[in-house]
């Protein structure tokens, strides 16, 4: 670029004549220098560069350089190249890179442009103004937010604010929260509220607990409480916090926290199944069956044999039935043969019917013939019809004729047969079974 600023024509010729890995870098240097005085010419030149050059990247370089001089012109032209960048890589897209420079050059003008051009930049792009937003939030959060709420640009700032309060402006969560309490409800203000709740739940549980008192006792407030509970446990990845959070939680947050913890149980977060079994008593009676099912599913992801051993120790109940079915489904997803062997040991009844139904759902795509046989072994007619319909549909994708024959020969009422056949009509395709068979029922 230094060479290019000295003598553009000769620098351009030198860069174009280069071979090897430094060529694109040299061409980008020319584009940067040239873009300052003639962006249009630079873009036309870049578009005409030969195959093998990353022309879009050369154009991006020119746009970014231009953004440092004339943000509006660069922003207008951002859409002439694809978004580029990589998923979840901060400020790597075309838009984000241009916005970084533009907001450094003239933050207010950049934000005004964004507000006037809704949708021209997406969530990832808008991270490009995070630095400027962070500085301004840290300087005076209320003043900053008031200004942008008044001029209609707050919505455009939301992604960057969300990032800022998770990072270098995390100290401003409380001021942002206090500010939004003074504002009328609206999309942007509601989104801001959610951002503070999410980030506080994740990073600053003490603050999150204090915010609970501000949540209205309405359906919306209850939904926000649930969302906060989810953030406190970070979607289940921080279940190890549970005991401590529960001890510190205000009364209103306790039940949502317990419910959320059970809903988020997964193999990698179920550190000690017995501890969760003991915590079932924290759930209201009406939720215990679902809680038992959650434990069973997560435990079966870890060690299905142990989960199966536990569930057989439970008294007969809705919770046990659901847990057994969950284990069958989860086990079948990991090891269809092992699951089938386990289900085969069950005595007839609701528990077996549900388990077979789960097994059929899990294995029918891969083993439709065996799934069909399993489905026919279900005693409960509605459970059997549902499982059989699924197995038949999976078979029909490979061999519609055979699927039709199964239905004709099956122990179904004429209405059920008609229903099963109508399900097949939506399925097309053919194929052969390519898998070794499952153990039979």
């Amino acid at each position: 670029m230094i060479l290019a600023e000295g003598g553009l024509v000769s620098a351009r010729e030198s860069a174009e004549a280069l071979k090897g890995p430094n060529r694109d870098q040299a061409l980008a240097g020319v584009a940067q220098a040239w873009a300052k005085s003639d962006l249009e010419g630079t873009i036309a030149w870049a578009k005409a560069l030969p195959e093998g050059v990353d022309r879009d990247e050369i154009i991006r370089t020119a746009l970014i350089r231009k953004a440092a001089i004339d943000p509006a012109e660069a922003l207008e032209l951002a859409g002439i190249v694809p978004s580029g960048g990589r998923h979840a890589y901060g400020s790597s897209t075309t838009g984000a890179r241009i916005l970084v420079e533009a907001s450094k050059t003239d933050f207010d003008a950049t934000v005004a442009w964004l507000a006037a051009h809704p949708g021209r930049f997406g969530h990832e792009d808008l991270m490009g103004i995070s630095r400027g937003v962070t500085e301004r939030l840290n300087a005076n959060a209320a003043e900053f937010l008031t200004t942008h709420a008044a001029n209609g640009s707050l919505a455009a700032l939301l992604p960057a604010i969300g990032s800022a309060i998770l990072n270098d402006a995390s100290g401003q969560r409380a001021p942002v929260w206090d500010w939004r309490k003074t504002q009328p409800s609206g999309d942007a203000v509601n989104a801001l509220k959610q951002q503070v709740l999410n980030s506080a739940g994740y990073q600053d549980p003490a603050l999150a607990m204090r915010l609970v008192a501000d949540l209205p006792r309405t359906a919306d407030g209850d939904a926000q409480l649930k969302s906060l509970a989810g953030s406190l446990l970070n979607g289940g990845s921080m279940l190890h916090r549970f005991d401590k959070l529960l001890a510190e939680a205000p009364e209103r947050l306790r039940q949502p926290l317990i419910d959320t913890a059970f809903q988020h149980l997964r193999a990698d977060s179920l550190d000690d199944p017995q501890r969760w079994v003991a915590r079932l008593s924290l759930l209201p009676e009406t939720s215990r069956a679902a809680g038992t099912e959650s434990i069973a599913r997560a435990w079966a992801e870890q060690t299905p044999e142990e989960a199966a051993g536990w569930v057989t120790s439970l008294p007969a109940s809705e919770g046990r039935d659901r847990a057994v079915a969950a284990i069958a489904a989860t086990w079948a997803g990991k090891d269809a043969r092992g699951a089938a062997q386990w289900v085969a040991t069950m005595t007839p009844g609701t528990e077996r019917d549900r388990s077979v139904g789960s097994l059929v759902l899990a294995v029918a795509e891969k083993y439709p013939r065996e799934a069909w046989d399993w489905a026919l072994s279900i005693n409960d007619p509605s459970e059997r019809d549902r499982a059989a319909a699924h197995a038949a549909r999976m078979m029909a994708m490979r061999d519609p004729v055979t699927a039709g024959q199964w239905i004709d020969a099956g122990p179904f009422t004429p209405e059920a047969k008609a229903h099963l056949r109508s399900g097949l009509d939506r399925v097309r395709g053919s194929g052969e079974l390519r898998h070794s068979p499952l153990p039979g029922r």
Binding site: Y89, P118, G122, N138, A139, A155, G171, H240, K244, D335
Partner: protein
Amino acid sequence: MRILFSSLLIVSAAGLGLAVGFALPRKTKTASEPAKQMAISSEPASAPKSKLFRGGTQQRASVNHNDDSPLATQLERDLSMSSGVTRWLYWLEAIEKAKPADFPRLARLSQGNPTATRFLALRWVELDAGHLFDTLFASPREVAGLPFNELASALFEAWPKRDPDAAIAALGGTDSAAARNWRMRVATVMVEKDVERGLRLMSEWHIENYGPRMTAVAQWAPGNPQHAAEFTLRNPAGYASQLAMETIGKEWAKIHPAPALEFAANKPGELGAALAAATLKEWTARNLTDAADWLTAADTKTRNRLSAPFVETWAKEDAAAALKWCQENLAGSALASAVGGVVKGAAEKNLGAAAELVSGMNPSPARAEAAAAVARKWFPEFSSDKPVKQEAVTWLGGLDSDSAKRVLDQVLWSWSTSDPKSLATYLAASQNEQVPPHAYSIVARELARKNPSEAIEWATKLPNNRGLSAGGEAFSEWRRAQPEEAAKWLNELPSTDARRQTFFESAIRSLAYDPQAAEQLAAMAATDCAAARTVIKTMSLPEDRRSRLLDVLKPR
């Protein structure tokens, strides 16, 4: 004049020496002597002028009757008229003379000069760390213009070493969220200085995603490893506790591995598992026979739980023997998990051989785990720019569908970002009906970032439903970055082309989550509004948001 100049140099050099003294540990005090001499000998010949000139300038300068720091005012003037080393000498002189009340203005003057900021911050901490803390965190308005991060960084690095009680009390007792964000720094320093206090602070302050250095833990644990383990269990702090348990396990295994394992085996949960795994790995590496004997004699539950880390270590030396041990001693999910461990260990030593080992296995849950272990090592990590090796893709293509699915579950995201083209080629050629549907969407979006037409072209070659859905994702990505071009392309499709409707719907679904969705929908052509309404109606959105979006799409 000469005498005056010499005096200034001596004072300034002394200041430099003092400042270096603040910045360096006490024991390096003698090292500041040469620095002093260098400072004296490197003073430029023009320096006396600045001292003499200063008086004249002072007379011309306007008098600030409310000057809260005459020292800072003086320094500001001096700096405005000096350059090079002289400026440093003025800085050091001011820092040396400063009282706590002078520092806020001095700090504002130091903006953009990190070395000066650091020197004055260290001096400020030495004189009155509490004053610096109050200045930074008492009122947001007072912070304006201060090099906040630099000052806070210096404060929380030095203060806990100098006066841990005061630093901890200040951070623990503050209502300032900004201050609470610095707790991690203080807790980290404390882990180095006093492990138990540091770990307890991390637990009390909910610092859960940070791993401090474990040097001090490794020195603390051998004294009483059981106490160390119990203490860590009582004070859980996420990742730090995990690292601490691993360190304790390693150290305990060097002294009394069997009691360590017996203790760990009775501690269910993540931390107990970390302790057990680290202990057993260390013991296996030191004495395979004893470790194997202990594990073989353990109850089934313990053996199942601990086999994977045991054979992982063993497999680094002898994968075949480790695999044989698994087959003889384990079954079901424990066997699958342990075989995954064997292959993980083997892959550490020889990736090609581990991949071959997997290729030679029969389809089974154990093979799927083993394949995942190889893939984790062979495919690029999330942040990598390296392309996926063709041998890895070929190996993946030779696996059974369950194992291939398990591999994709492991590497899909990292593969799609590091080398989307090779993933696209693999998916297009794959006959595996177990490929998760979102794989196509992810790769379509990644391809569209670089070349939208190519992404859509790729999607059209996929089987019907997958192609339409993946193409819709690619189109959404394209429309977001290049709305005009994308809309033009869509409008030029024949009216019979199924992509017209599907891609439009995909774009609307994507747009509905944009913070400026309402404004964008409001700007749509009237003919598209009805179709967009239909899409929004079927989406799972918060009710107030859905209402707002539907509202702007009402017929006008």
